[in-house]
């Protein structure tokens, strides 16, 4: 009886201790949460014995929550898009990273070193995805092909972020994203070719799957998901390059689990974990030493070498954070309406 009481007492004090040791990770819901749970979190828990708990939500919801909880963050680790990460960083919500505590980070691609506060976790591209079965003999070798008259009323793009096509228009006009104004007239010429604008990945899938918009400026990972579901989509990488996107990871300022957080990020950059993420999401590993399945490596929009990273159109994340509102407003006023 005495032993039983002692065991119960030990259990009673052990449960809260374990709960206190959990690492809280903030990430988008659905397949993104599952991705981290099945890869990084699984390995991290196996190695440290510390469970991982997830807080899920949309990009803006999570940003607002953390802003309100400033100094006493709800999560220890946050995954978000590179330019949104700058909004966290500018508001003092991210801890400055000590990269020496993340040994695996030495293999990061240069483009994945976003800031002293957040680092790339994986990459993808926004590029041209199309339904060859509905368009006939059409090829997209350059972004300029979107401007062809036969594309009139066929294209959809994201309504939440026009930065990709704004940067592309600037480049095609001999400029760059920082001097995007030079591409304004070019982009206005594309207006008749837009049929609709999608509001999220599900909406993008619906428009492509139904053939309502047979051409899209599309997220590569989303296109591969649709291909996996049987939608015959062809992804084209224009000769100017696709537009690089990087999702990032950071440690929240005020986190009391910094040691564990560094271990978690180091696990994220484990070459095997990166290869697994690439396989599951058809994205690019953030580290250059991941040995990924050759079938995945040869997919358009997946890159594994430093040279391949540099071939993409890379909009500076800080510039994008500062310009998104201006670009979005101009796009709404001149292209969408």
């Amino acid at each position: 009886m005495k032993r039983l009481l002692l065991a119960l007492f030990a259990l009673a004090i052990a449960v809260p201790a374990q709960a206190q040791d959990k690492l809280v990770v903030s990430i988008w819901g659905g397949s993104w949460r599952d991705l981290i749970a099945e890869t990084v979190a699984k390995k991290f828990t196996a190695e440290t014995g510390v469970p991982v708990e997830f807080i899920t939500g949309g990009t803006i919801d999570r940003l607002n929550k953390e802003k309100l909880a400033k100094g006493n963050p709800e999560s220890d680790i946050t995954f978000t898009t590179s330019h949104v990460g700058w909004l966290y960083a500018n508001d003092g919500l991210f801890e400055q990273l000590d990269v020496s505590r993340i040994p695996n980070a030495k293999n990061l691609a240069d483009e994945a070193r976003i800031s002293p506060f957040h680092l790339g976790a994986w990459a993808y591209v926004y590029t041209i995805g199309y339904r060859a079965d509905l368009l006939g003999n059409v090829k997209f070798e350059s972004w300029n092909d979107l401007w062809k008259p036969e594309m009139k009323g066929k294209i959809a793009g994201p309504d939440f972020d026009p930065s990709h096509i704004i940067a592309v228009s600037a480049i095609l006009s001999g400029s760059d994203a920082a001097h995007w104004e030079k591409g304004q007239e070019k982009l206005k010429e594309l207006k008749p070719n837009f049929k609709a604008f999608y509001t999220n990945d599900a909406n993008s899938q619906q428009l492509l799957a139904s053939g309502e918009t047979p051409v899209q400026i599309v997220l590569s990972m989303n296109a591969y998901y649709m291909i996996g579901q049987g939608v015959p989509i062809t992804l084209a990488i224009p000769k100017e390059g696709a537009v690089l996107g990087v999702d990032t990871v950071a440690i929240m300022k005020g986190s009391k689990k910094a040691d564990l957080a560094y271990k978690f990020i180091n696990t994220l950059y484990d070459p095997d974990i990166q290869a697994e993420i690439a396989k599951l999401k058809k994205g690019s590993p953030a580290v250059l030493n991941a040995k990924i399945d050759p079938e995945i490596a040869k997919l358009p929009g997946v890159f594994t070498t430093a040279a391949q990273w540099k071939q993409q159109i890379n909009i500076d994340a800080k510039l994008r954070a500062e310009k998104t509102a201006e670009w979005r407003k101009w796009f709404a006023e001149n292209i969408m309406n």
């Binding site: 508001d91 309504d159 609709a196 139904s210 053939g211 310009k323 998104t324 201006e326 979005r328 006023e333």
Partner: protein, 291 residues
């Protein structure tokens, strides 16, 4: 029962208890409105979540033709939705009130109330399946050889209005049914006995007596569709925009919360103005209706 000494007989001892939650909610709403108003008067700082100093620039920006057009389009879409809902909902409400069959009444009630049980997103996606180029309507018309090319319903004002009518239908039918059920049928019988046909009885007796329900239904449908978001967002596809879509596009998708707040304040002001005008226009009808 004896009342405590000095206490009025008609005292409402539970009023304070019942009113407290409502007062707390009202306080919460007022605080939120004050925050929105405050944000609308602050400057946007690129790359930062914190707004800058006080400014009227956000409201000055609203004077651009684009925003005036979206505000105008919103009012037009709301009017079209309210009017279409009335036209479709009146016969349903009439049948619901007047049918003697309990089975028919139950079926009608289910048809009317079902949309309330579906989420806005689910309901809108189902309309995409119906209205799309490969959707139910176009497939049927193409299959029957009536059309050769799909008719474009998606990304049009028509498509948005059709889907919004589905949203506002339940509340319209319930309000009309309540008004119609209060009409003493002896009025219609008297008109009939004096030689009026069914159409004349409806136009000169039933319809005027149901006007309070018509006005209430129109006003509610208008106000309800004014705040529509998912339907114009998904069916409109960025081509048909209402104020809430602009708030999302320019505010939340690009972190420009001050400008989004100014759109909210302007939208709220416009709603108050339009509903006040509707109320003024309907004032002559106050003396009509069953008494």
């Amino acid at each position: 029962m004896r009342q405590p000494a000095g206490r009025p007989v008609n005292a409402q001892p539970y009023l304070r208890t019942f009113a407290t939650p409502a007062a707390l909610c009202a306080f919460g709403f007022l605080a939120a409105m004050a925050a929105v108003l405050q944000f609308s008067l602050r400057a946007y700082v690129p790359g930062s979540l914190e707004p800058g100093g006080f400014t009227l620039a956000n409201f000055a920006d609203l004077l651009k033709p684009l925003y005036a057009r979206v505000f105008f389009d919103t009012v037009v879409i709301c009017f079209l939705t309210a009017a279409s809902t009335l036209i479709v909902g009146y016969p349903l409400a009439y049948a619901l009130v007047r049918t003697q069959s309990a089975i028919v009444k139950s079926i009608l009630l289910v048809i009317v109330v079902t949309p309330l049980f579906l989420g806005e997103v689910v309901r809108t996606y189902s309309w995409i399946i119906v209205l799309g180029n490969n959707g139910f309507i176009n497939s049927t018309l193409l299959g029957l050889g009536i059309i050769r090319q799909p008719i474009q319903f998606m990304f049009t004002t028509f498509g948005v209005v059709v889907a919004l009518v589905h949203v506002t239908m339940p509340v319209m039918v319930i309000m009309l049914a309540a008004a119609l059920s209060h009409i003493d049928q002896n009025y219609q019988k008297a008109a009939g006995s004096l030689g009026a046909g069914p159409i004349r009885v409806f136009l000169t007796v039933t319809l005027p007596l149901s006007m309070p329900g018509v006005v209430a239904g129109l006003t509610t449908a208008f106000a309800w569709s004014f705040s529509a978001f998912a339907t114009p967002q998904l069916i409109g596809g960025g081509r048909v925009n209402m104020i809430s879509n602009l708030v999302y596009q320019l505010g939340f998708a690009s972190f420009n919360f001050p400008f989004a707040a100014s759109l909210c304040v302007a939208g709220l002001a416009l709603t108050i103005v339009v509903l006040s005008m509707l109320r003024l226009a309907a004032r002559p009808l106050d003396n009509i209706g069953p008494h």
